[in-house]
Symmetry: D2
Subunit: 255 residues, 4 copies
């Protein structure tokens, strides 16, 4: 193993200072940068421009709260079971930010990157080829379709509008919109670009690495779960959720 | 169970809208508020003033990154064990935000609230009474002392300065400073107000409920762990950490 | 830090052997001891007698399965959210084995130990004193009462019977039964000794340290959750649970 | 959604009984079956034969303890951070039982099943074909190789011996041994069948579904982590591990 494997650029603390990625944390970062700016800095290695901050904030705020999602239900049940440790309720809810409910951000971004690379090599009609391939295999296209928001996810046009207002409505957003046309055609019906798909495109526009995208969903939802946790302390919805589960999933001894 | 137990004010989604605490999420919140403002709103039920936002951002940024803390070490080990699921690495690190490494924020805030209540009832010399009680029992005073930052936690004066600059240097900060004098006296040596103690006072100043304080530490650290996760994907420090643990904790068959 | 802090007696592996607490794991333990015996050995440092094994197995089996408990509901929701990683579903369910749903095992055992110590010092009528103190403060007595099993937890007499059949019906079980009489008297109504209370007494009888009791509940439930996980893969109850939660916890904008 | 989606065969509790998969839990299962037998029953739907129990116990005991593995290190760090909640330390360690450190059990079993299916269709030289394909792609063969145990994992022959002694040394074990010969040939050097690979074959022999195999590793390790947790309460190795991590992963500001 080389020396390189034994170093970190992230941060360190000494008796009288905290260094973070080459900066004096206390004198240069605290009080000067917002949480959102620091999140970008710790992830991307540079500070975001004001338009990038606004786009990132819009993405983070969009995923913060969506009512009683599975992660919120899990957090509420956990808050009732382990009331002494709020971090357990939040962490448990965050474990559920997986491939099913948030992974499409990174899958959609990966698809858009692949399209860009193939375009750069001169390939043509890529959006059509891809849409038809998914349709032929009856596989869901990452970033398309939504269980609740039909026919259109209302968050998507708002996110594109914010991108446009901040000069971040570039090639990736355009590519996603081009894919939309071909997806509808190939599937023979309208499938909305969902919020996680739109966010995948926006995060690419502001140069967030794909490897950080699910983690950004986690950060966003962490903030949202605080609200559920606080409400649970006075409302105790967990017992009602549990009773509903027991009532609706009936025990049977039939094979 | 009353109807009250079966309601939530947090949020809901319908086919074409998302409502959050009485607001139209998409048209009124996304693009208008930052992540930090939304966190405050979801927790406190009202939007923060600009000075409150700056103080909250300073608190959140301060706890984001502190080098290889136990939570960062756990996240890195987990990222190596479950590389496919970044949310597992982050959530595992967040589980460690418990009484030992972050709980003093809420304990310190609780102590400051208790002091304020006893002062309101006309009791005198409360800071001295409390400091002496802890000293007599040789118990650590919540918000005082630090393993690395000696004699003084350099984050604390910076946090107080930001509070002052934003008009949030009120009775709780003053009370914590008064407690500092008595703690040094009672223990016969200087014990620094640590960053989590200072943050406890500042969050009280901006009217964050004590019940949300550990959750705010969790949110802060969630952002910081993203950086560790990204770095781990290229550096693989987990194997070095594991090797160090095996080397330093030797197996013995002696009783 | 002394050398002692840097050693472990638990286990180690070399190129050609695995040592566990002074034993050759491969040649002396694997194939010779059951999982239950090894659990006892790793926890208590000695191997259990056959009657102790039967009592421990009865305790572990009793807590394995109890239908759709909060931990089972959480595991099922998580299995639906992170289908690729079964360990996440099980671990998430286990996080819920806290003070509310399993902690009474250790609390009841702690209470029985306290009674034994006070008896050893010659104090009299301790059971009555304690029962009356809880009743006066209207606090639940650890190990008494149950939400579903009324008027009596049917698991308790079976556990005591197994203890008796195996010669493990000693002073702690007798003490718990004596407490039962006084609790009913002090509260003016019958409160059943619940299964976790009975298990607390039985584990004391077979010399399991109180510090291991919650962990034993975790191990027991880990086995039970495997069944839920397997069933969830074919039944997908998680979507029904989620739908029930959204239907029963209605969103309101009223204050 | 059909009615089928809203039922569970796993278990339920009523005021005076607990039913588990068609059985009276309290009168028919508790006190009659061991933890290992119940684990098999809850997973496979039938009770194991005595030889199957011995093989399953050997598999579970083998994975219980392997010294300071990443999951043990994580559990110890967590026990230090959240000392009040032992289930958090165990659950955190179990989250690490993923594709890297335990997943080869199921991958190896899947490979053995695939070989059996191709053999049933009359295909020949399958072991050679597969071994060469992995070698050509320089991919690790699931169930082969080990970082510590070289040249041979000492647990493997012992597991095969136990299978033989219990009449469970059938076609899957034979197939894995046949694969061993071809793997050594194709890679041009000896690669040991590791313990997780051997366990994959043994669990197939006793008819455990592949979908349950990682969960069985989780159950096994849950028991092992109890020992680490108990030791940590008196030894506090977590601080030494943390110090080692900070010492060995140096902070650098070089790019």
């Amino acid at each position: 193993m080389t020396d390189k494997a034994h170093t970190t650029r992230t941060g360190t603390s000494t008796t009288d200072s905290v260094r973070v990625r080459g900066h004096d944390m206390i004198n240069d970062l605290v009080g000067r940068y917002s949480y959102t700016e620091m999140l970008y800095f710790l992830t991307c290695g540079s500070f975001p421009t004001p338009p990038q901050v606004r786009v990132l904030d819009a993405c983070l705020v969009t995923l913060m709260e969506h009512g009683l999602t599975p992660s919120a239900v899990i957090s509420r049940l956990m808050a009732d079971s382990v009331p002494e440790e709020p971090q357990v309720a939040i962490a448990a809810g965050l474990l559920a930010i997986g491939s099913v409910y948030a992974g499409t951000t990174e899958s959609c971004a990966t698809l858009l990157q692949e399209i860009a690379e193939r375009e750069a090599k001169g390939e043509r009609d890529i959006h059509r080829t891809i849409a038809r391939a998914y349709a032929a295999q009856r596989k869901p296209v990452p970033g398309f379709g939504h269980g609740t928001h039909k026919p259109d996810d209302p968050r998507t046009p708002r996110l594109f509008e914010i991108a446009r207002d901040n000069g971040c409505h570039g090639a990736f957003v355009a590519s996603l919109l081009a894919l939309q046309v071909e997806v509808d055609q190939a599937f023979g019906r309208h499938l909305t670009i969902n919020a996680t798909g739109a966010i995948g495109a926006l995060l690419l526009e502001i140069k967030v690495p794909v490897a950080a995208m699910r983690a950004f969903s986690v950060v966003s939802r962490a903030g949202g779960l605080v609200g559920h946790l606080l409400e649970e302390q006075s409302q105790h919805s967990a017992r009602a959720i549990w009773a509903a589960a027991k009532r609706d999933i009936r025990y049977t001894e039939e094979p």
